[in-house]
Amino acid sequence: MESVLYNILGAVATFLLAFVVGMIYGGLNRKITARVQNRKGPPFYQNFIDAMKLASKRSAIHHGIMQHFGPAFIMVSSVMSLMVVPVLTHNQWFPNLNFHGDLIFLLYIMVFGPLGMALGAGQTGNPNSAIGVTRGLSLMTGFEIPWVMALVALMIQYHTTSIVDLMNVQIQSGTWLMFSSPFAFIAAVMAMLGMFRYSPFDIVGAPAELASGPISENGGKYLFVMMSAGSVFAFVKLTLYVDLFMGGADNLVILLVKTFVLYLIPVLYSLTTVRYRTEHAIRWFWGWPSFFGLLAILQAVFFK
């Protein structure tokens, strides 16, 4: 009985941690962007203020029942993937639903959010939302290929579909997977650029083209939920990468350092690039990233 209580409390703590860290990372992204652009930039906690303001909006127009589901689906998908990803290596306060096959489950659940978004955006009737959703799904077909290839390579190489097992492999051998399976890491990082949807893969909500894309019609509380879900999801993605390729983290400080270093890759890359068009983006993902994914699989099969 006690362990269930611990688990629930731990899950809440995990969620709060993910929310806070994700929000601060978003704020730091804005700060870094501003510094590169010769500006002072907003304070790092600006995203919290924005979230608070959005939550305190008095009205939030909705266009039908499905529009409620959009943000809800994203939130559910974020939280579910958060529960699957181990935050720290051995820590009872951040428990996770560890089971065999959770990596495959994660692959599914990460797609779940954007699909829910698609349902919600369809209902709003805004053409920008519809086009944004189409672009988002096409982009997903792009980056999913190298991402899945990288994960499949890991699965083949270490004969496991469990994240915890993969972490244990790294702890036992003493080397991170980014060194023992470099091709998988490269493919996965390239896929991560698409996952974060920062430039050059920000076609989904490109302001100059689609206003803000799928979320065009969502204001106030809807946007608040989406923003929080996005922050949690960013944390999930970064933690997952740290777990899979960078040996996990023993304590929070190491986790934050590792995730932040990883987060700098899409942030800094986004500052120097022009936006890809959808077809360019897909072609890009099916080019070098997929090639590295293929190399990773070959490595996994032939050079165990």
Partner: protein, 367 residues
């Protein structure tokens, strides 16, 4: 199977539009089948208002035609009045006018860097260039008292003489900007994604360009050497040494390259103007504006702006107020007939880059 046609509205409230206007797109998939522009959101009836004002009062309305670069409109008006009246302009005023026009051109190009890159998602260059534009606006503020609206080029000369030490400040700013331009180029023109997004997109055909009324950098991007500063020289441009860059291709990339060269040519012109600046009067005094009547007749003066030819037509009935004024902006052609033609067959992602590249400035269209 035929794809379904949907209608998409870009504007009037849209972050990608270059002003307050609307483009109605008929789209199948991602491809535009038909584009219709709808303008009139900024119609202030300048031409009507100018009929109510006397010849000098008109002049305050003049700079409001197109905000990014107000000085060519002032210059056109001042020159049209001078042509009609036969008024002489002092030599020094001519040089100061060229200096102001080229500074304004630089400022507008800085804004273009921002718009073009913003539409393509490269906000860093846009932030840098719009930030650096402040240095040019500082010069304007010192010279004319206003950051955006200068009302500086008057019929008969300019409103004020250059302040003390202004030349050195201009030269220092030019040195700074020239250094900064390298940074922009590194991030923008050397960027493969930028090339991919702009090459072969928004093509204006070379054969039809002149007939369609294409002017300015867009025409030069088609490979046709045409610049009013050379063809129909005004002020002292015929005494200055500068090149008119052209590019083959007629796409966004070609136009961007043309503009990239033109920024450097502007800096070159400004340096020459400062070097050659004569001393003397800066203003040929006009009579009491309340009683200042122009002879009957009409005149048309045109000036090269960043968007191309802008012209001012004035018709006088011999009174103290204009009978009719008309402003011909480059965007009047680029923003309606040309845009509708160029957008057909383009991708929806390219609407905003194409509009920025053509230099569509809505207040010029409806005035």
């Amino acid at each position: 199977m035929r794809e379904k046609e949907t209608t998409l509205y870009i504007g009037p409230q849209h972050p990608g539009i270059t002003g307050n206007m609307m483009v109605r797109l008929k789209v199948t998939g991602d491809t535009i089948v038909k584009a219709t522009t709808e303008v009139g959101y900024l119609h202030r009836a300048f031409e009507k208002l100018q009929e109510q004002r006397n010849w000098l009062q008109c002049f305050t309305l003049m700079c409001r035609f197109c905000v990014p670069e107000p000085d060519p409109a002032e210059e056109s008006y001042a020159r049209a009045v001078e042509l009609l009246e036969g008024r002489e302009v002092p030599e020094r005023a001519k040089y100061i006018r060229v200096l102001v026009l080229e500074l304004a051109r630089l400022g507008a190009y800085m804004l273009w860097y921002g718009g073009q890159n913003g539409s393509l998602g490269l906000y860093t260059v846009g932030q840098w260039s719009v930030g650096d534009r402040n240095y040019i606006l500082d010069l304007f503020e010192e010279l004319t008292g206003g950051r955006v609206y200068h009302m500086y080029i008057w019929p008969g000369g300019v409103r004020r003489d250059l302040p003390k030490g202004f030349e050195e400040k201009v030269l220092r700013t030019m040195d700074y900007l020239e250094n900064r331009l390298k940074d922009y180029d590194d991030l923008m023109f050397d960027n493969t994604i930028f090339q991919k997004r702009t090459q072969g997109i928004g093509i204006v055909s070379k054969e039809k360009a002149i007939e369609w009324g294409v002017v300015g950098p867009v025409l030069r991007g088609c490979g046709i050497k045409s610049d009013i500063r050379i063809d129909d020289p005004y002020e002292v441009y015929d005494r200055l040494d500068f090149e008119v860059p052209t590019q083959e291709g007629g796409d966004i990339w070609a136009r961007a390259l043309v503009r990239r060269q033109e920024v450097r040519q502007s800096i070159r012109i400004i340096r020459q103007v400062i070097e050659q600046m004569p001393s003397g009067e800066y203003y040929n005094r006009i009579p009491n504006p309340q009683k200042w009547a122009l002879p009957k007749g009409d005149a048309y003066a045109r000036t090269e702006s960043v968007r191309g030819e802008v012209g001012m037509y004035i018709a006088s009935d011999g009174g103290t107020k204009p009978r009719r004024t008309h402003f011909r902006g480059a965007a009047y052609v680029h923003g309606v007939t040309l845009l509708e033609k160029v957008l057909v067959g383009a991708n929806i992602s390219d609407v905003s880059p194409i509009m920025n590249s053509l230099g569509v400035c809505p207040p010029e269209i409806e005035r």
